[in-house]
């Protein structure tokens, strides 16, 4: 297990981790611009500031491992290996999107990469991840599932029930709580009685809390938990302390609800995961990554915007896996 850990961590170069956080950051910045330009309808929940968690945790996973994501899911989906172009095409509602334009930001999924989907319902992913990991490991060699969720999700009954099921049945799932201090406008202090790790620990789940702003730290914390889950030690829990740099959702850019002072936001943004990891590369290498990412993002946006939107006549396609077509709403 220690071996696995070491190998897992060592297998990931600082440049690789940097590339991931930089990719997510630039993807989100461009996505916000596309929200402003109206190319992304409905807005997004930006992941900016929390990139270290997706990057660090997914670096500890194997290609066939599984994840469930959240409403703030772009980072997870990209870190698990999704094609940024098809991801951007999904956000802009194109047939070339990961979900053929049916899902959008809150449901982006790539089952071929073990990405079981972002989810619009807070806390919904935990039980799905547990069932998926259980099934995968029953049908073949153990595959670990990571369920990402926010601090708000630890107050959702179904997630707490999932902790119990996973612990009882020793399911290879790692629960990753991204504690960014807020559920929309509500602080953790006003929302969570007791400690977040204590909540997981009460179900007999080993729980650790780490600095979620440093990709390397997150990777080093995640790798042994993933290895332990894979080795049959049952579910593991990782709390990552982080900060949401931008809006809860892009509607905030217009509505501007007051719940975080300018000073608090400035303080929260003072430690930037992209810079923290970037500082570990020498200038030339960092620049090379940055340039490559600019290309990738530019190509992603171009691909998305030239792709076709799905045709209204196909609006009920995929409603049923069996191809059943529902009766129309008007004859």
């Amino acid at each position: 297990m220690a071996g696995t850990t070491w190998e897992q961590v060592a297998g990931v170069t600082p440049a690789a981790l940097y590339r991931t956080v930089r990719l997510i950051r630039r993807f989100e910045e461009r996505a916000i611009e596309l929200v402003r330009s109206g190319d992304i309808v409905g807005g997004i929940h930006p992941y900016i500031g929390q990139e270290a968690i997706a990057a660090g945790v997914c670096a500890a996973l194997r290609p066939d491992d599984l994840i469930t994501s959240t409403h703030r899911g772009h980072g997870h989906v990209l870190a698990k290996g999704a094609d940024p172009a098809r991801m951007m095409a999904e956000l802009t509602g194109r047939v070339t999107g990961l979900n053929r334009g049916r899902g959008g930001s809150m449901h982006a999924a790539d089952l071929s990469l073990g990405v079981l989907g972002a989810n619009g319902i807070v806390g919904a992913g935990g039980a799905i991840a547990a069932g998926a990991a259980w099934a995968a490991s029953r049908l073949g060699p153990p595959r670990v599932a990571v369920s990402f969720f926010g601090d708000g999700a630890v107050n959702q009954g179904v997630l707490l029930e999932a902790f119990n099921l996973a612990a009882l049945w020793r399911v290879p799932v790692v629960f990753v709580c991204e504690n960014n201090g807020y559920a929309t406008t509500l602080t953790v202090a006003d929302a969570v009685a007791g400690g977040i790790c204590d909540r997981a620990a009460a179900f007999g789940i080993p729980a650790v809390s780490v600095d979620g702003m440093d990709p390397q730290t997150v990777l080093e914390a995640a790798a042994p938990l993933v290895a332990a889950a894979r080795a049959g030690c049952g579910p593991q829990f990782l709390e990552c302390h982080t900060y949401r740099f931008d809006a809860h959702h892009t509607w905030e850019h217009k509505a501007r609800p007051r719940y975080r002072s300018a000073e608090a936001v400035a303080a929260g943004r003072s430690r930037d995961p992209v810079d923290i990891q970037g500082a570990r590369l020498d200038a030339a290498d960092r620049l090379a990554v940055d340039n490559e990412i600019e290309r990738v993002i530019a190509e992603a946006v171009a691909f998305a915007l030239i792709s076709a939107a799905p045709s209204p006549v196909d609006a009920t396609e995929h409603l049923y896996a069996t191809g059943l077509r529902p009766r129309p709403g008007a004859s």
Binding site: G152, N155, T185, A309, P312, G329
Partner: protein, 322 residues
């Protein structure tokens, strides 16, 4: 005269009822900041004991409200997403709704559930675009879908004063409406009483929520050719059957436009009851969402599955031909 938006009308009803009765309180996510733009300002006016920000524990705070209502409070629970009613279906349909009968009339549960922005919010995709009022009509929870700012005010006020659980759906498609009205004219609107939004003689169009605006527009387009009566039930359960029967006495023809899924939706009930009991000289028609609808993300697909004016126009023309 003052210009009042639908959203402001909801907020005004809340504020007026809280001022009128100190047992009225509000619970929900981000209600203090007022993220839904309904509860803004209530915290300053009524304080934190009456405006409670809840953690993401919809099931518990829904039954918490039921428990508070059993002891005499009149809580208003705000839900940020229509599908949170799925998450709390047990607490609403199996607990709050059933307490009066199961206790043989000992208990009353005067709780109001408010969903600002029900139905499609373009671009919010499959889990944020449901319009599940027919589910609650089926289980028998009192349910309103106001179409105008003054009905938004009046029905929410009546819901809060009602001694049974009541759900108020405020369709995303109606939130932006504005009305030019005399504020002093705002008053409770009785539950279960519809209104003729426009009188006509050839066909009755029953339109629900934001589709009342569509029905009025279509009626206008067709004037000259077809005289369309627009009937807005306002409350979907209990339904104003007498009001509908009176309208069908005049017209004998029926079209329903309803943002429910077709199968077992409100439109089905209206068509069924009219067919069983009321005057119909031609087969009725429905304009609804398809069966089992999940709204896809892409804008064109989302729009394609919502009832629209073209479909309504076609249905009216077909019904008057028959």
């Amino acid at each position: 005269m003052t210009i009042l938006s639908y959203l402001k009308a909801l907020g005004r009803a809340l504020g007026d009822e809280m001022a009128r009765d100190e047992r009225v309180c509000v619970l929900g996510e981000d209600v203090r900041v007022g993220v839904s733009n309904v509860t803004n300002g209530l915290l300053d006016r009524f304080g934190p004991d009456r405006v409670l920000d809840t953690p993401l524990s919809e099931q518990a705070f829904t039954s918490f409200a039921t428990g508070a209502a059993l002891l005499g409070m009149r809580p208003v629970v705000e839900f940020q997403i229509p599908s949170l009613l799925f998450l709390t279906f047990e607490q609403i349909a199996n607990q709050a709704h059933k307490f009066s009968l199961m206790t043989g009339g000992q208990a009353r549960v005067p709780v109001t559930f408010l969903v600002p922005g029900s139905g499609s919010r373009l671009g919010w995709a499959g889990q944020h675009s449901d319009h599940p009022y027919s589910l609650f009509a089926h289980v028998g929870v009192k349910t309103c879908v106001p179409a105008t700012p003054s009905d938004a005010y009046g029905l929410l006020a009546s819901a809060i004063r009602d001694d049974d659980p009541v759900i108020v759906f405020a369709p995303a498609g109606a939130l932006g409406l504005r009305a030019d009205l005399v504020l002093s004219s705002l008053a409770p609107v009785p539950l279960g009483v519809g209104r003729v939004a426009r009188p006509g003689s050839d066909v009755t169009v029953v339109a629900v929520g934001h589709h009342v605006t569509d029905a009025l527009a279509v009626a206008d387009d067709l004037r000259g050719d077809v005289s369309v009566e627009v009937f807005d039930p306002r409350t979907v359960y209990p339904f104003d059957w007498a009001g509908l029967a009176a309208s069908l006495e005049r017209t004998g023809r029926l079209v329903v436009i309803d943002d429910s899924n077709r199968m077992c939706g409100l439109g089905a009930e209206i068509v069924a009851t009219a067919s069983e009991e009321m005057r119909l000289v031609a087969p009725p028609r429905r304009v609804s969402r398809p069966d089992g609808t999940v709204l896809p993300f892409a804008e064109a697909l989302d729009r394609a599955l919502q009832p629209n004016r073209a479909q309504l126009t076609a249905a009216i023309q077909a019904v008057v031909k028959d």
